[in-house]
Subunit: 232 residues, 2 copies
DNA sequence: ATATGCCTTATGTCTAGTCATAATATATAC
DNA sequence: GTATATATTATGACTAGACATAAGGCATAT
């Protein structure tokens, strides 16, 4: 029986403390919600919220009937904000500028069909564009859009607004896959980003789907020294 | 007045749909929880949960009294799992092997003191180690630990268990900063990771604190072709 | 021994309230 | 006009219940 004042954040703290001092060692099952609610002198819903959030953070593993366990390998979850490039640039105080380099409709190449599970003759809109911060190259965007899946695509000219921003506003999506990697600058990329050939380039790739239908594949290549940060 | 069956996920869907079809354009204020609860025929708590989760996802911006607004720049949040290297390697089916390369106590160098806000004569334990997947280099770990902040550090020899795994099990932390970037392989790194000098290396850096006290700084350099993926 | 279905149980979700708190808007005092 | 106190209001947190659902375990029939 603990003192009266117990919020769900307090409960989270207590549970975390018990995990850290090995009262509840990794892999062990912890008492049920009802029992904990009694111990903490609060409603089960309050315990539930605390436990749910700890499970979302990867600290606990919950299963109906099976109960709640302390996660064996403390997989931490880092949350990254994925803002629009424009916002990201503007938030540094720099002026944002956008340029469309290429825009053309293709039959999807084999590698793209494989990535997006597209049919043999699927048409895609291929766009290449640059995002600048105070006129220094910030990001090169290489994007393919599945034309069949995106309504209204013919009404977008992408000369003033980037495909990312357009899609975010016009096109809903349900699933996203993001990958981060380090790549080598080839001739084209070096030229666009004012790099030397062979320089490392921080790259993110994104695929989005709308309930199973692939919408778009995009590769973002960042300028020299870019670093994606998060704190939590 | 909508049909009866309304869960908080349904409400999220409806709200998202209204944002996407511009019923509630970006920046606009949306009806209060009580009003929405009436419309959807459910309790305010249910609307609250839907709205809270949408706010956590960066879709909405909520403030007491001010009300709930559609976020102007739809900042999406990507969640990455940060597992232990060992688990990451083992999950690919490969055999994990760990080697300690160096272990020595130093007076913290200036750049580290600046990063961790350490005093002039603070002592740090510097460790370098390798993580292998099936005997191919997977990750090089370069780690500095603030000795004053970590109890029991003298009892850890780090020959069989990596510092990351040891710290996760022994040392609580409250704040983490993670940065991702692409770097160039220098001579040492190329040697450790079986790369050529100048090759791009995917790098993550991590700093952790325990309620304001810096615990450790670590830089992880990954082998060729590594890519950090997430899906949500 | 094995497969099927039922029962139990812990979590998941929900309701209809209450009280708390932060931020705005308004009224008041100077 | 400006600063300060006050009322209002929307979200935040919580309670004590309820029913839903998934999954483990047990009993039964084959």
């Amino acid at each position: 029986m603990l003192p009266s004042k117990n919020s769900y954040t307090d409960i989270k703290e207590i549970v975390l403390a018990r995990i850290r001092d090995h009262t509840w060692p990794p892999g062990s099952i912890i008492p049920g919600e009802i029992e904990l609610a009694e111990e903490f002198g609060c409603a089960r819903a309050t315990v539930n919220r605390a436990m749910r959030e700890l499970a979302e953070d990867g600290i606990l593993d919950r299963k109906r009937k099976a109960g709640t366990r302390v996660n064996k390998s403390p997989v931490r979850h880092a949350k990254f904000a994925i803002p629009l490039v424009r916002i990201e640039v503007e938030s540094t105080g720099a002026a944002y500028r956008y340029t469309l380099l290429n825009k053309k409709i293709f039959i999807a190449p084999a590698w793209l069909r494989a990535r997006l599970s597209l049919g043999d003759s699927a048409e895609v809109l291929h766009l290449q564009c640059m995002h600048f911060a105070d006129n220094t190259p910030f990001q090169f965007e290489d994007r393919w859009i599945n034309i069949d899946a995106v309504h209204n695509i013919e009404n977008a000219d992408f000369t003033t607004i980037g495909p990312n921003e357009w899609l975010v506003n016009e096109m809903p999506f349900t699933d996203v896959e993001i990958a981060f990697s380090a790549r080598v600058a080839d001739k084209k990329l070096a030229e666009y980003l004012s790099l030397s050939i062979g320089e490392p380039v921080f790259t993110t790739e994104r695929i989005t789907w709308l309930s199973g239908t692939p919408i778009t594949f995009a590769r973002f290549s960042f300028g020299r020294g870019y670093s994606l940060k998060t704190r939590f």
